[in-house]
């Protein structure tokens, strides 16, 4: 009964008219992928969460009654009793161990962590992708050199380089971004190299070469669009990794210089004081960290499902 009703609807003129524009319209790879991504509810929800987090880090200060470096002398001696989250004195998230407003500090820390992640992550993937594309396209000695450097680099735990660099060359945010890019230049290299090696023997590249295009143009105009999906997936994996990396070194005390802060530094301070019963100092940064990581995880998952041909 129901089935035949459904069939009648599918075969009706009205249905055909209704769907015609969508079926006639050309469907590019990216439009397809976009639709697949939008159908993934968890991923869309995560984009929303991440958006809220970004808004919080940009506009959160409008709702703060204290600045991130101001010390509230009224609560300083009695942080355990009076320093908790409260609506009366304007410390929405309580204060930290030095009597500074935790809300303002969390806003500032979120901004730092997100900025580091969203600048250093994509840039390092681009760098790795570029090297990978060159190595894969030209092959030969260049390829061998890049691969050797890659192997050696991966064999050295990044923390050595990171800690030394941070301790010796100051600890500003731009330094942090720079060192993360230097540590992470291997991200995405191998996979882009493989893709390019596969693509460079295809007919459209031969055609471009026969038309007399330069290598540079072939790589950036013809090969790059075809490996873009790999780069996008990889970037979505690297961004949370970079945020985690930044948090780890901040936790170790070689992150961004006080009074500026990041989520990792706040986590570390919160963890150091949790024996004194001031758990909100750990809880709020941890919650922000978890929200960021969860939403980035599901966004990455959604992008992989939407873009990877193997997943279809």
């Amino acid at each position: 009964m129901i089935l035949s009703a459904a069939r009648r609807r599918l075969q009706s003129r009205a249905f055909a008219d209704e769907r015609a524009p969508e079926m006639i319209a050309s469907r590019s790879f990216w439009a397809d992928a976009g639709r697949r991504f939008l159908n993934n509810r968890m991923a869309v929800f995560s984009v929303g969460m991440l958006g809220l987090l970004i808004l919080f880090s940009i506009f959160g200060n409008l709702f703060a009654r204290w600045s991130y470096e101001e010390i509230d002398w009224n609560v300083l001696g009695r942080i355990k009793e009076d320093g908790g989250p409260s609506l009366e004195n304007g410390h929405w998230f309580g204060v930290d161990e030095l009597g500074r407003d935790l809300y303002a500090r969390v806003v500032q820390g979120t901004r730092t962590s997100l900025l580091v992640g969203f600048i250093a992550g994509p840039v390092s993937v681009m760098l790795g992708a570029m090297l990978g594309a060159l190595a894969g396209y030209y092959g030969g000695r260049l390829d061998r050199t890049v691969l050797a450097a890659y192997t050696i680099w991966l064999a050295i735990p990044y923390i050595i380089f990171f800690v030394v660099w941070q301790a010796f060359f100051g600890r500003s945010m731009s330094q942090m971004i720079l060192v993360i890019i230097l540590v992470n230049w291997t991200a995405g290299l191998l996979i882009v190299r493989g893709q390019v090696m596969m693509l460079k023997n295809r007919e459209f590249v031969d055609a471009a070469r026969m038309l007399g295009m330069s290598d540079f143009k072939i790589i950036f105009r013809h090969l790059a669009p075809n490996v873009l999906w790999v780069v996008v997936i990889y970037t979505s994996i690297v961004i949370p990794e970079v945020i985690m990396m930044e948090s780890l070194v901040s936790f170790l005390g070689v992150g961004i210089q006080e009074p500026n802060t990041s989520i990792g530094a706040l986590l570390s301070q919160g963890a150091a004081t949790m024996t004194f019963g001031t758990l909100w100092q750990l809880g709020f940064p941890a919650a922000i960290f978890v929200i960021a990581q969860v939403s980035l995880f599901y966004i990455g998952d959604g992008l992989r499902d939407a873009l990877d041909p193997k997943e279809r």
């Binding site: 050696i152 991966l154 064999a155 050295i156 735990p157 990044y158 923390i159 050595i160 380089f161 800690v163 030394v164 660099w165 941070q166 301790a167 010796f168 060359f169 985690m244 948090s247 780890l248 936790f251 170790l252 005390g253 070689v254 990792g264 986590l267 570390s268 919160g270 963890a271 949790m274 024996t275 758990l279 750990l282 941890a286 960290f289 978890v290 990581q293 969860v294 995880f297």
Partner: protein, 310 residues
């Protein structure tokens, strides 16, 4: 096989040399030094101090002396910040600690991760499978530096079961939390990876053949499926060891175990060139040794790789 091992070992020396030269110049070219403080030393005293540590000579001479001393006498020099201690002392004291809980952590990763992955694959879409997926996501969100405070919060502050830090000669209570904090997220990755490859193997034609022959399920899994399914996990162990070495720096600092990670961070703060260089070399050698071990094991197990090597 022997040839391959030798070739790999030959690669180690130049790599180490590059690391040492790079780290040496990076540190020395930075402003400041181990003896600069808020109140500057009088120039004559400073000159004496620098001479005592051989730092009055040109950089390349210092580098040469440093490398020579390591090669001839295994001497990593005196520490700049800790009086009366050499870098060898620092390593001799801290390294066994890091190695101990690192070993137990690796045991934890393998002994729990592999069976969990296998069970999840055998009960595909069952309870254990979902538990494991949950665990994998959990561990991605709670890396060691978030997990460690949570563990202390639960096991030390709430339940009072385990000490929240320290080492105490390596009694088991003091080893448990560092090992778990260090290993959990890699345990989950190992489990996820094992599950994936096990599922793939179980769907392959030769397993169907084995089933068709009427072999008992147990034999199929133990004799036919397990070995190929574990190969990807084994390759992954190399990177895992590198990550764990990185993580151990954090665990040493957080749990105050007295391991080398703490010395490394303190060395960075006090610009103790000798300690930083010595520990960087140690970390790098450790990484090479573990990766080589994994690769050799892989070659030994996988006949295809073994044939390619000889």
């Amino acid at each position: 096989m022997l040839n391959y091992t030798l070739r790999r070992l030959l690669m180690v020396l130049p790599t180490l040399l590059i690391l040492v030269i790079f780290a040496f110049y990076l540190m020395r070219l930075a402003p400041g030094g181990p003896f600069t403080s808020e109140r500057p030393l009088p120039p004559s005293v400073m000159a004496n101090v620098l001479e005592r540590y051989g730092m009055d000579e040109p950089l390349h001479v210092q580098l040469w002396t440093y490398v020579k001393n390591i090669v001839c006498c295994f001497d990593f020099g005196p520490s700049f910040s800790q009086k009366d201690r050499t870098v060898n002392d620092v390593i001799a004291q801290g390294f066994p600690v890091t190695l101990t809980y690192g070993f137990w952590s690796a045991v934890f990763v393998l002994v729990l991760g592999i069976p969990l992955g296998i069970i999840a694959a055998l009960r595909h879409n069952g309870f254990w499978d979902y538990t494991m997926t949950g665990l994998a996501i959990f561990s991605q969100i709670f890396p060691n530096f978030v997990l460690a405070p949570l563990l202390v919060l639960l096991f030390t502050l709430s339940w009072g079961l385990l000490p929240g830090g320290g080492w105490n000669g390596g009694q088991w209570q003091y080893v448990v939390m560092p090992a778990i904090a260090l290993g959990t997220s890699y345990m989950a990755s190992v489990a996820r990876l094992t599950r994936g490859s096990m599922l793939e193997v179980l769907n392959s034609p030769y397993i169907r053949t084995a089933r068709a022959k009427g072999l008992p399920e147990r034999t199929i899994i133990m004799r036919h499926a397990l070995k190929p399914a574990l190969l990807p996990t084994l390759t992954y162990m190399g990177p895992v060891f590198v990550y764990m070495i990185t993580g151990s720096v954090f665990v040493d600092v957080f749990f105050s175990t007295g391991g080398i990670g703490q010395d490394f961070i303190n060395g960075a703060y006090s610009r103790d060139y000798a300690i930083l260089l010595g520990l960087a070399i140690l970390y790098a050698v450790l990484t090479f040794a573990l990766t080589l071990m994994v690769d050799l094991l892989y070659a030994w197990i996988d006949p295809k790789v073994r044939a390619g090597l000889s």
